[in-house]
């Protein structure tokens, strides 16, 4: 196990792995998929990533990494800068105290938790967006985005689980 070499308190490149996965998820969000109306309801893949790492390895996805991922997301999608970063940081802050409830549970339980976090996040995003733009944004699009975000969570979690098993040492 090459990964075991990296001890907890020491810095190693392995620590950057979750950050890299978060940035990959952010990039995947903005890919032009040519699906009608996809862009306005594109799932918040990075949120799923932050949720996953906050539960399983919060020490490997510190606030700074989450912040960086949020900024990348904002820069890529052309929205107001700081919104994605704020959203992901608050999501991390909300999940962190609860992580013990989730860490050794079965997947459906973790997924349930994510549906709630995603609902809160998208509602927050919708309110913040409406505030910034000074007009109510389309609530139906926000709800569809929530459904898609929740629906894509298993795929994201599976991908991150494989990454974690492959290169992140156990706690």
């Amino acid at each position: 196990m090459r990964a075991m070499v990296a001890r907890r308190s020491e810095w190693s490149p392995v620590r950057l792995v979750p950050t890299v996965t978060l940035v990959i998820l952010a990039v995947l969000t903005v890919l032009p998929l040519h699906v009608p109306d996809y862009a306005s309801v594109a799932p918040l893949l990075a949120l799923a990533g932050v949720y996953y790492w906050t539960i399983y390895r919060p020490d490997f996805a510190p606030p700074l990494a989450v912040f960086a991922c949020g900024i990348v997301l904002d820069l890529l999608d052309g929205g107001p800068l700081g919104v994605g970063a704020l959203l992901l940081l608050l999501a991390r802050a909300a999940v962190l105290p609860q992580r013990r409830f989730f860490v050794n549970r079965l997947f459906p339980f973790v997924w349930m938790g994510f549906t709630m976090i995603a609902a809160g996040a998208i509602l927050f995003l919708w309110l913040l967006g409406s505030g910034i733009e000074g007009a109510w944004l389309d609530l139906r699009a926000a709800m569809l985005q929530w459904v898609l975000t929740v629906a894509t969570f298993p795929a994201v979690a599976y991908f991150l689980m494989r990454v974690q098993r492959a290169c992140v040492p156990p706690e």
Binding site: A42, L81, V83, R92, G129
Partner: protein, 290 residues
């Protein structure tokens, strides 16, 4: 290692609040001063463009394969439709050729100043905006290819939006459906002026129409050329519904399936001498599309 511990503790304890505050500050600053962030954005888009282009290529390839299969199933009906279309268009072509000759002769008689000719830059869409906030796309052509802020982006069908941020290799196009998009348009035929205002829905609204306008569903809208940045006469969309005084417009361009965009260079608002802008060989204006 030991010296680093207090810094680490401080970082762990206050890192989150500091970063949350930084994010909020960015949102507020972005609302107040957009120029700084715009530079940041275009700089980032520049460096991300090659990566995005590489990733978006297989996605586009898969998409085209899926599209091919879908087309295969629709081949028979498509063929029939195209045959009917072709017949109709051939008739139109004859009419148009006649009109073109007549138009040319009349223009000559009137000594009309020709409109400045437009040239085009083509770019591929490499990123969509996600979420309910913005309707914009990133294309892989920027300053280097001659893209300038404010230029119109079109597809074969019609107007897509306006260039809002330009980097060296990438540019962001604000779609006509975006909340912040305002396009001066004219009703084809009556030449009534209005403004097409996006509201993040699929069908932007038509505002500032003159009072007692005879606008009806199905009327065609084209760019009016007011403001001097867009060439006049670019097809924009059709009036799709009038309810309670709110006029909705269905854009001609299929905004959810954008692939390649053409950026119209109108030759610096016609200030440049005619010889500088490459002229299309035909007497017809290059700016007309679709």
């Amino acid at each position: 290692m030991r010296l680093a511990v207090p810094i680490k503790v401080v970082g762990q304890r206050f890192g989150l609040p500091i970063l949350v505050l930084a994010s909020v500050a960015m949102i507020v600053l972005g609302k107040a001063d957009t120029l700084l962030f715009e530079r940041m954005r275009s700089g980032f888009a520049d460096s991300a463009a090659p990566v995005l282009r590489i990733i978006s290529e297989p996605v586009a390839a898969i998409d085209s394969v899926v599209g091919d299969f879908r087309d295969l199933f629709a081949l028979r009906s498509e063929n029939a439709r195209l045959r009917v279309d072709n017949e109709r268009l051939l008739r139109w072509q004859q009419v148009a050729q006649g009109l073109e000759v007549e138009n040319g002769r009349l223009r000559e008689l009137l000594k009309l100043t020709p409109d400045p000719s437009a040239s085009f830059v083509t770019g591929r869409v490499i990123a969509n905006s996600g979420g309910a906030f913005v309707r914009s796309v990133l294309i892989d052509a920027g300053n280097g290819a001659g893209v300038v802020r404010g230029q119109a982006a079109i597809t074969g069908e019609g107007l897509v939006g306006r260039v809002t941020e330009v980097g060296e290799r990438a540019a962001r196009i604000l779609l006509v459906t975006d909340l912040n998009s305002r396009i001066p348009v004219a009703v084809d035929g009556s030449r009534e002026r209005a403004v097409l205002a996006g509201d993040n829905s699929d069908e932007p609204r038509l505002v500032y129409l003159p009072p007692r306008s005879a606008l009806k569903v199905g009327d065609r809208l084209v760019t009016s050329g007011n403001g001097g940045i867009f060439p006049p006469g670019l097809p924009v969309g059709v009036v799709s519904g009038i309810t309670d005084g709110i006029i909705r417009v269905q854009p001609y361009a299929e905004l959810s399936r954008l692939d390649f965009l053409r950026i119209v260079d109108y030759g610096l608002n016609g200030v440049l001498p005619q010889a500088v802008a490459p002229r299309p060989p035909k007497p017809a204006r290059g700016g007309r599309a679709g």
